[in-house]
Symmetry: C2
Amino acid sequence: MSKSTGFYSQPKHLVAVDCVVFGYEDDELKLLLYNRDLEPAKGSTSLVGGFVQEDESIEDAARRVLLEITGLENIFLEQVSAFSEVSRDLAERVISIAFAALIRVDEYNHELVKKMGAYWVPVKEVPQLIFDHNQMVDNALEFLQKKSSYDLTGKELLPDKFTLTELRLLYEAIFQRPFDPGNFRKKILSLNLLERLNEKDRQSSKKGAFYYQFKKNEEITIGDRIFKIH
Amino acid sequence: MSKSTGFYSQPKHLVAVDCVVFGYEDDELKLLLYNRDLEPAKGSTSLVGGFVQEDESIEDAARRVLLEITGLENIFLEQVSAFSEVSRDLAERVISIAFAALIRVDEYNHELVKKMGAYWVPVKEVPQLIFDHNQMVDNALEFLQKKSSYDLTGKELLPDKFTLTELRLLYEAIFQRPFDPGNFRKKILSLNLLERLNEKDRQSSKKGAFYYQFKKNEEITIGDRIFKIH
DNA sequence: CCAAAAGTGTTCGAACTACACCCATGA
DNA sequence: TCATGGGTGTAGTTCGAACACTTTTGG
């Protein structure tokens, strides 16, 4: 084991980041996974991740990993928690920080993702993952639910314009439960964060549903939780 | 810089834990600080912390540090977040995980704390701390407020028996705002987590206030947030 | 015309706020 | 007896849950 050769005489550790990447497609919440291409457990299913380098923070490392896999910059990214059981990695001791990331499926580079061997899996069908990655997924989903309770998620997962039904379906996917359409609509509009466009989506209904978009410059953090709606 | 000599060929890092230790005394929320006894910045004010060793998880490391300083085991301890800016430590690159800890002042070893050079400071008077420790304090306080919104904090900070006024004062200290005494009382009792003892505190009022204690075996996690009370 | 989704309105009840008011007792 | 904190009661309001109802339009 390596003791530091620098100022502090203390053990050093491998530090990794693992990203729980959420996307929303076909009315479903999905996760970006890939088949591990290095030993140990080569070929088994894993979150996307990588090791923290000397010249980068953990957030930088997570951003770098996501850029390499999706071609996207400026991804929504937030720390979930650190995992550090001594034997969590089968090969060597690795401390890993789990991140939650939100991806807009209309923006990421589909070819790049495919080339990197990554693929989307519905959160309801996440397979057995390597190490403690299933735990990371659970924590990240809980994180997403809390965030969505306070912050009106949608900007990060939906296209620029979307109908209120689409937003509701997203929330139903996140919380894994139905919301009353009428109540949902009223609650959302009362927040005053969206503006209606003079354009309708005509795909999903005969009447047509107005598109909405997030208002610019409304970085309001809502003091209280948004969602108690059933 | 040391590349791993083990399985993975990747850089290794110093990893530390820093504990934001909350205590409650004299109707005030306090933090346990100490004057740093090693360079760099020897003598400046700091959170209690230490380096993660090879055979321990970060939680183990935090527990070890707290045991060394307070003599207590089984302290409430939870991860807040990781800090990893490359130059956050003046001497060498250190990734640190901040923890929030809750201490009952009637339990910790006062002499030991004194001997270790640690001391309590009211949260409202926290001085300039080393590195990014003030940020850690802010995050930990926010953490404590969120926890207390959902979980009825008090078990971790108050003595076994306490009056509802004491509990209210604790909440006022945590949230830095007053609560209506009558409404607070009704809300708390409606949760059904406390039981009244046949014993009164006669110090603080002529009438005397009943002591309460947490019911045994009530590990109920409340689904919704507890506190909206004003 | 009718089915189906968009969108509005209405009622009920739970829960929080504000505040009045009674209680017990030591000085 | 009265000041003080403990403790109870209550009216008003807000807000979510449930659900009925209206609107629009393609088939």
